[in-house]
């Protein structure tokens, strides 16, 4: 894990690219839907597959991106990330699909067959939030991510993290602060559509 404690690169490079994408999407720029798809479709598809199952997942994903593009005027980067917003739309589609399948399940159950187990709403929320946090963590530079993981998974203080990583205290504090901000923005985007 080679790292240079004196490196001074900005620690938010990936999120700059994400912010550019968000602006382009909100404006309805050419290619912005394709770019959003490239950036977030795997997460949306995974979320759909894990909540409604593999058969309905592709259709949900398709609905999410089509609906998102049609309502792109409603997307406001100041209120949360595009990834969160898309996941929020996906949550709506998933909830609708689960309601439909539960109605079907009820009929199947009356017919004597077994009812498929559908995830309940809290599980849907948890999967959404975990996938968003995983995505946000994955966009961090590895050395920043290392510090942020210590914020989550250890009980070290800022000073101890600085000591353990050999980085200045101010760097550690700002990396944690900015990264948590990036991750919060993902959940804010999710909440906008709640």
């Amino acid at each position: 894990m080679g790292r240079d404690p004196n490196q001074t690169e900005p620690d938010d490079e990936p999120s700059i690219a994400d912010i550019q994408l968000e602006r382009a999407f909100a404006k309805g720029a050419d290619d912005a839907l394709a770019a959003a798809y490239r950036r977030y479709a795997r997460m949306v598809l995974t979320f759909a597959r894990r909540t409604v199952g593999p058969e309905a997942a592709e259709e949900v994903t398709q609905d999410v991106f089509v609906a998102a593009w049609r309502s792109r005027d409603n997307f406001d980067p100041d209120r949360g990330s595009l990834g969160g917003w898309l996941t929020g739309i996906a949550r709506h589609k998933v909830t609708d699909a689960l309601r439909r399948s539960q109605r079907v399940d009820a009929r199947v159950e009356r017919a004597g067959a077994y009812a498929d187990r559908s995830p309940r709403a809290p599980e849907v929320d948890q999967v959404a939030e975990r996938l968003l946090v995983a995505d946000g963590l994955a966009t961090l530079r590895p050395d920043v991510r290392e510090v942020v993981e210590m914020a989550f998974y250890s009980d070290l203080t800022h000073e101890q993290i600085a000591e353990a990583t050999g980085r200045p205290l101010g760097t550690v504090k700002s990396q944690i602060r900015r990264s948590l901000g990036t991750l919060r923005r993902h959940l804010e985007g999710l909440d906008v559509t709640a």
Partner: protein, 251 residues
Amino acid sequence: MSPRDPDEAELAAARTSQPQPDDTPDIALTRRVGAAARALSDDDLRLDDLPSALWDRIEAAAGPGATAAPGAGAGSMAAPAAPSQGERTGGHAPVVPIGDAPARRRPGPPVRRRTAWLAGAVAAAVLVLAGTVALVSRDDGGTTLAQAQLEPLPSAVPGTESAAATVVERDGVRELDLSLDVPATAGFYEVWLIDEDIEGMVSLGPARADGRYQIPPDVDVGAFPVVDVSIEPPDGVPTHSGVSALRGTLT
């Protein structure tokens, strides 16, 4: 820590999901972020691949303005692609949340202990195995039987350095030679040999200054080829804590 320091308050919130009456909206969100981060599993790090026809259907349904296939070359908007598996894991094994370690069990059989939960972590560690070298040489009056390159895992204390492990036979006694360069931790480091199925493991004991760990005579190193260095809390529980600092496979 002073609760008035906003950075400290934020860090505390990232680690405690229990809401407090005076939580600001940001602090409440930070609690959710931390809770999600601590609940992450390997499943959350593995994203499905996109079926190739899916974009075509979306483009057709979304209509004008949605042109240009994803992945189109020059001229298309330079959007960041979703982080790939490698980037996603930062080149390391997926996160093994420290707070998520299963309950530590009571002492089991003295040598073999079963830990199914480690399977994912160790399977993932295959990703980080550095090139290993198989050679037989004379060293220090002994014969080198196997070697492994151990690489730090995400749960390692930062500053943990890669290490080389060597199984050496001296006068009919096999030892694992492993010189560790690891930062101090709240507990202690312990050295393990683990089988490939991650069914069983053998403790070679706490880290030693001389870097020499005797391998019990009946233990077949070929059956326990994964060398693992764990971080153990000083709680007297003899099983693997689930938090590993370094790992590699003997060849």
